[in-house]
Symmetry: C2
Subunit: 119 residues, 2 copies
Protein backbone atom coordinates (compact mmCIF):
# COMPACT_ATOMS: atom_id res chain seq x y z
CA UNK A 1 0.00 0.00 0.00
CA UNK A 2 1.76 3.13 -1.23
CA UNK A 3 0.65 6.72 -0.95
CA UNK A 4 -1.08 6.62 -4.31
CA UNK A 5 -3.11 3.52 -3.60
CA UNK A 6 -4.00 4.72 -0.13
CA UNK A 7 -5.41 7.85 -1.69
CA UNK A 8 -7.97 5.80 -3.60
CA UNK A 9 -8.83 3.94 -0.40
CA UNK A 10 -9.27 7.14 1.63
CA UNK A 11 -11.41 8.63 -1.13
CA UNK A 12 -13.52 5.49 -1.17
CA UNK A 13 -14.25 5.75 2.55
CA UNK A 14 -14.82 9.51 2.45
CA UNK A 15 -18.40 9.08 1.26
CA UNK A 16 -21.36 8.11 3.47
CA UNK A 17 -22.96 5.58 1.13
CA UNK A 18 -19.65 3.85 0.47
CA UNK A 19 -18.68 3.77 4.13
CA UNK A 20 -22.08 2.32 5.00
CA UNK A 21 -21.75 -0.33 2.31
CA UNK A 22 -18.25 -1.25 3.40
CA UNK A 23 -19.28 -1.58 7.02
CA UNK A 24 -22.15 -3.82 5.96
CA UNK A 25 -19.76 -6.01 3.99
CA UNK A 26 -17.39 -6.25 6.94
CA UNK A 27 -20.30 -7.30 9.13
CA UNK A 28 -21.25 -9.93 6.56
CA UNK A 29 -17.68 -11.21 6.26
CA UNK A 30 -16.57 -13.71 5.13
CA UNK A 31 -19.81 -14.11 3.22
CA UNK A 32 -20.39 -11.38 0.71
CA UNK A 33 -23.60 -9.78 -0.47
CA UNK A 34 -25.09 -9.40 -3.95
CA UNK A 35 -24.94 -5.88 -5.40
CA UNK A 36 -28.70 -5.51 -5.41
CA UNK A 37 -28.97 -6.27 -1.72
CA UNK A 38 -26.28 -3.70 -0.92
CA UNK A 39 -28.11 -1.10 -3.01
CA UNK A 40 -31.33 -1.85 -1.15
CA UNK A 41 -29.58 -1.58 2.19
CA UNK A 42 -28.05 1.77 1.23
CA UNK A 43 -31.34 2.97 -0.27
CA UNK A 44 -29.87 4.02 -3.60
CA UNK A 45 -30.65 2.89 -7.18
CA UNK A 46 -28.65 -0.03 -8.48
CA UNK A 47 -26.58 2.02 -10.91
CA UNK A 48 -25.60 4.52 -8.25
CA UNK A 49 -24.54 1.65 -6.03
CA UNK A 50 -22.59 0.15 -8.90
CA UNK A 51 -20.57 3.35 -9.20
CA UNK A 52 -19.83 3.36 -5.47
CA UNK A 53 -18.85 -0.30 -5.45
CA UNK A 54 -16.44 0.43 -8.30
CA UNK A 55 -14.85 3.14 -6.14
CA UNK A 56 -14.43 0.70 -3.25
CA UNK A 57 -12.87 -1.75 -5.71
CA UNK A 58 -10.40 0.89 -6.89
CA UNK A 59 -9.50 1.47 -3.27
CA UNK A 60 -8.80 -2.25 -2.87
CA UNK A 61 -11.31 -2.48 -0.03
CA UNK A 62 -13.69 -5.00 -1.53
CA UNK A 63 -13.61 -7.88 -3.98
CA UNK A 64 -16.24 -9.41 -6.19
CA UNK A 65 -17.16 -12.75 -7.75
CA UNK A 66 -20.02 -13.65 -10.01
CA UNK A 67 -22.57 -16.04 -8.58
CA UNK A 68 -25.14 -16.93 -11.16
CA UNK A 69 -26.85 -13.72 -12.14
CA UNK A 70 -25.60 -11.85 -9.09
CA UNK A 71 -22.30 -10.18 -8.39
CA UNK A 72 -21.26 -11.14 -4.89
CA UNK A 73 -19.21 -8.44 -3.20
CA UNK A 74 -17.21 -9.10 -0.09
CA UNK A 75 -14.90 -7.03 2.12
CA UNK A 76 -11.22 -7.31 1.31
CA UNK A 77 -9.82 -7.27 4.83
CA UNK A 78 -6.28 -7.61 3.54
CA UNK A 79 -6.71 -4.36 1.66
CA UNK A 80 -8.28 -2.77 4.71
CA UNK A 81 -5.41 -3.92 6.89
CA UNK A 82 -2.99 -2.63 4.27
CA UNK A 83 -4.52 0.81 4.60
CA UNK A 84 -4.30 0.86 8.39
CA UNK A 85 -0.80 -0.50 8.13
CA UNK A 86 0.13 2.34 5.82
CA UNK A 87 -1.29 4.85 8.27
CA UNK A 88 0.62 3.39 11.20
CA UNK A 89 3.89 3.10 9.33
CA UNK A 90 3.62 6.78 8.61
CA UNK A 91 3.98 7.52 12.26
CA UNK A 92 6.07 4.50 13.22
CA UNK A 93 8.88 4.79 10.75
CA UNK A 94 11.93 5.21 12.91
CA UNK A 95 9.76 6.45 15.72
CA UNK A 96 8.00 3.55 17.44
CA UNK A 97 7.47 5.68 20.56
CA UNK A 98 4.80 7.57 18.64
CA UNK A 99 3.08 4.48 17.35
CA UNK A 100 3.12 2.55 20.62
CA UNK A 101 0.21 4.33 22.33
CA UNK A 102 -1.92 3.71 19.27
CA UNK A 103 -1.27 -0.02 19.33
CA UNK A 104 -1.72 -0.09 23.09
CA UNK A 105 -5.14 1.36 22.67
CA UNK A 106 -6.11 -1.42 20.28
CA UNK A 107 -4.80 -4.14 22.50
CA UNK A 108 -6.55 -2.71 25.54
CA UNK A 109 -9.85 -1.53 24.17
CA UNK A 110 -10.56 -2.79 20.71
CA UNK A 111 -9.46 -6.36 20.54
CA UNK A 112 -9.07 -7.32 24.16
CA UNK A 113 -10.91 -10.63 23.72
CA UNK A 114 -8.49 -11.52 20.95
CA UNK A 115 -5.24 -10.81 22.77
CA UNK A 116 -4.65 -14.47 23.35
CA UNK A 117 -4.12 -14.70 19.60
CA UNK A 118 -1.82 -11.72 19.57
CA UNK A 119 0.38 -13.01 22.36
Amino acid sequence: MDAKKSQAAFAALAQPTRLKAFRKLVAAHPNGLPAGEIAQFCKVPHNTMSTHLAALMRGGLIAVARQGRSMNYRANLDGFRGLIDFMLRDCCNGRPEICAPVVDEFNAACCAPARKVAS
Copy 2:
Protein backbone atom coordinates in the same frame (compact mmCIF):
# COMPACT_ATOMS: atom_id res chain seq x y z
CA MET B 1 -14.93 9.53 16.34
CA ASP B 2 -18.27 8.83 14.68
CA ALA B 3 -19.02 8.07 11.05
CA LYS B 4 -19.61 11.72 10.24
CA LYS B 5 -16.37 12.97 11.72
CA SER B 6 -14.40 10.13 10.19
CA GLN B 7 -15.71 11.18 6.82
CA ALA B 8 -14.02 14.56 7.15
CA ALA B 9 -10.81 12.81 8.20
CA PHE B 10 -10.88 10.39 5.26
CA ALA B 11 -11.59 13.25 2.86
CA ALA B 12 -8.69 15.19 4.34
CA LEU B 13 -6.27 12.33 3.67
CA ALA B 14 -7.67 11.59 0.21
CA GLN B 15 -5.63 14.37 -1.38
CA PRO B 16 -1.92 14.17 -2.23
CA THR B 17 -0.92 17.60 -0.95
CA ARG B 18 -2.74 17.12 2.31
CA LEU B 19 -1.42 13.61 2.87
CA LYS B 20 2.10 14.86 2.20
CA ALA B 21 1.64 17.74 4.63
CA PHE B 22 0.22 15.47 7.31
CA ARG B 23 3.08 13.00 6.98
CA LYS B 24 5.54 15.85 7.28
CA LEU B 25 3.84 17.02 10.45
CA VAL B 26 3.90 13.51 11.90
CA ALA B 27 7.60 13.31 11.15
CA ALA B 28 8.10 16.67 12.86
CA HIS B 29 6.04 15.65 15.90
CA PRO B 30 5.84 16.80 18.64
CA ASN B 31 7.26 19.99 17.21
CA GLY B 32 5.04 21.58 14.63
CA LEU B 33 5.89 23.60 11.54
CA PRO B 34 4.87 27.09 10.46
CA ALA B 35 2.32 27.26 7.63
CA GLY B 36 4.78 28.88 5.26
CA GLU B 37 7.31 26.11 5.68
CA ILE B 38 4.65 23.48 4.99
CA ALA B 39 3.57 25.34 1.86
CA GLN B 40 7.17 25.48 0.69
CA PHE B 41 7.63 21.77 1.36
CA CYS B 42 4.47 20.94 -0.57
CA LYS B 43 5.37 23.36 -3.36
CA VAL B 44 2.07 25.22 -3.35
CA PRO B 45 1.23 28.90 -2.76
CA HIS B 46 0.52 29.88 0.81
CA ASN B 47 -3.20 30.44 0.29
CA THR B 48 -3.68 27.04 -1.34
CA MET B 49 -1.86 25.48 1.58
CA SER B 50 -4.04 27.42 3.98
CA THR B 51 -7.13 25.85 2.43
CA HIS B 52 -5.65 22.37 2.73
CA LEU B 53 -4.59 22.91 6.31
CA ALA B 54 -8.14 23.99 7.09
CA ALA B 55 -9.37 20.68 5.65
CA LEU B 56 -6.95 18.75 7.87
CA MET B 57 -8.22 20.78 10.82
CA ARG B 58 -11.83 19.89 9.99
CA GLY B 59 -10.77 16.26 9.94
CA GLY B 60 -9.29 16.66 13.41
CA LEU B 61 -5.89 15.50 12.19
CA ILE B 62 -3.86 18.59 13.02
CA ALA B 63 -3.89 21.43 15.51
CA VAL B 64 -2.52 24.94 15.38
CA ALA B 65 -1.16 27.60 17.69
CA ARG B 66 0.07 31.07 16.92
CA GLN B 67 3.76 31.65 17.49
CA GLY B 68 4.66 35.23 16.87
CA ARG B 69 3.84 35.97 13.29
CA SER B 70 3.63 32.33 12.32
CA MET B 71 0.91 29.77 12.72
CA ASN B 72 2.49 26.62 14.03
CA TYR B 73 0.71 23.49 12.88
CA ARG B 74 1.29 20.15 14.51
CA ALA B 75 -0.08 16.65 14.00
CA ASN B 76 -2.97 15.72 16.27
CA LEU B 77 -2.05 12.11 16.95
CA ASP B 78 -5.07 11.67 19.19
CA GLY B 79 -7.30 12.52 16.27
CA PHE B 80 -5.29 10.20 14.05
CA ARG B 81 -5.58 7.40 16.56
CA GLY B 82 -9.28 8.10 16.82
CA LEU B 83 -9.63 7.54 13.11
CA ILE B 84 -7.76 4.24 13.14
CA ASP B 85 -9.70 3.24 16.20
CA PHE B 86 -12.92 3.93 14.35
CA MET B 87 -11.76 1.79 11.45
CA LEU B 88 -10.85 -1.12 13.68
CA ARG B 89 -14.01 -0.97 15.74
CA ASP B 90 -15.92 -1.31 12.50
CA CYS B 91 -14.52 -4.76 12.02
CA CYS B 92 -14.09 -5.65 15.68
CA ASN B 93 -17.54 -4.97 16.98
CA GLY B 94 -18.74 -8.30 18.18
CA ARG B 95 -16.24 -10.03 15.96
CA PRO B 96 -12.74 -9.80 17.48
CA GLU B 97 -11.62 -12.77 15.40
CA ILE B 98 -11.63 -10.50 12.37
CA CYS B 99 -9.71 -7.73 14.05
CA ALA B 100 -7.09 -9.92 15.70
CA PRO B 101 -4.92 -10.54 12.62
CA VAL B 102 -4.78 -6.83 11.99
CA VAL B 103 -3.51 -6.09 15.46
CA ASP B 104 -1.11 -9.01 15.27
CA GLU B 105 0.41 -7.50 12.17
CA PHE B 106 1.06 -4.25 14.00
CA ASN B 107 2.60 -5.94 16.99
CA ALA B 108 4.81 -8.10 14.82
CA ALA B 109 5.87 -5.77 12.05
CA CYS B 110 5.09 -2.17 12.79
CA CYS B 111 5.81 -1.51 16.41
CA ALA B 112 7.85 -4.48 17.47
CA PRO B 113 10.37 -2.35 19.39
CA ALA B 114 7.53 -0.85 21.38
CA ARG B 115 5.84 -4.07 22.50
CA LYS B 116 7.35 -3.82 25.93
CA VAL B 117 5.08 -0.83 26.42
CA ALA B 118 2.07 -2.74 25.22
CA SER B 119 2.57 -5.62 27.62
